[in-house]
Symmetry: C2
Subunit: 152 residues, 2 copies
DNA sequence: CGCCATTTAGTCGTGCGCAACTTATTAGTG
DNA sequence: CACTAATAAGTTGCGCACGACTAAATGGCG
């Protein structure tokens, strides 16, 4: 893939459309918006869906583990998990070994939801309309960017 | 750039780390977090900064124009613009030609802030640590993705 | 002209996302 | 062992983001 630079590439431009950050911000919201109708049918928001992805991979994780996986603070996760618990998808219980920690476990309902969610990544993949290579390149660049920007 | 696919590339994976959407979500928040201390000094949040970028390009735009440029709803912009007005950076006045429309104009303070903001894109560019080509490729892919996903 | 559909901002309610802080528990040090 | 530092989860306050809705103004059509 070649960079077809139809861009005024001066280093410190203040033009909105020169900013990678804006492309990122717009893309992220556009993708989330595309997820919304699909996730509505599952009764999930997008961040809730991400939490469920983690739990479907590995049941019984701590709030801390979720925070590490999703890069979210407990101040974001705690209320979100409460809502998922209220919807009957998971249970929260203090660990006996360490009373500070809370184990998040799927309920039967939560575990079963996985089957209904299987179609979601496929539908989104279609909508994104990237080739396999573009998808891989994008992921790679986004991870590099995240790593660089998260330093110190 | 080659796609070094150390990925389990099955089409409909439910693994968090296979999802482009998560890479996007994480990158967007990481970049915004990197902006935060810089923008704090200007007294701006990240979305407020984006609004200012538009206004520094073209003074006197409508709420609708801002919404088109930033892909945001009036329900997001109206309160945000009120806060910027309260901080003395802009004024909102109904247009005489069309009383439905509101013209957003920079105050002297708002216009002057541009000079202090000049260092921001440079600092962020450094922190991102992408080559020119990676930056261009990322922007290109993100725009393609946004366009595809926004269809219909 | 009169009327209705459209357009433009705006309000309201809900759910993030994060900084700053609190509380409870555990670990580590002398 | 005592005591302090750390860790884990949660609360609060604020600012987005967006859907659903409202009010006011304009455009278009008969």
């Amino acid at each position: 893939m070649t960079a077809t630079g139809a861009e005024p590439r001066q280093e410190g431009s203040l033009l909105l459309d020169d900013q990678l950050c804006f492309a990122l911000y717009a893309a992220s919201r556009a993708v989330t918006a595309r997820y919304r109708p699909l996730l509505d049918e599952l009764g999930l928001t997008y961040p809730q869906y991400l939490v469920m992805l983690v739990l479907w991979e590995q049941d019984s994780v701590s709030v801390r583990d979720l925070g590490t996986a999703l890069q979210l603070e407990s101040s974001t996760l705690s209320p979100l998990l409460k809502r998922l618990e209220a919807h009957g998808l998971l249970r929260r219980e203090r660990r006996a070994e360490d009373e500070r920690s809370v184990a998040i476990r799927l309920t039967e309902t939560g575990a079963r939801l996985r089957e209904r969610a299987r179609t979601v990544p496929v539908a989104i993949g279609d909508a994104m309309g990237l080739t396999r290579e573009q998808d891989a390149t994008a992921k790679q660049l986004l991870r590099l960017l995240t790593a660089n920007v998260s330093e110190d």
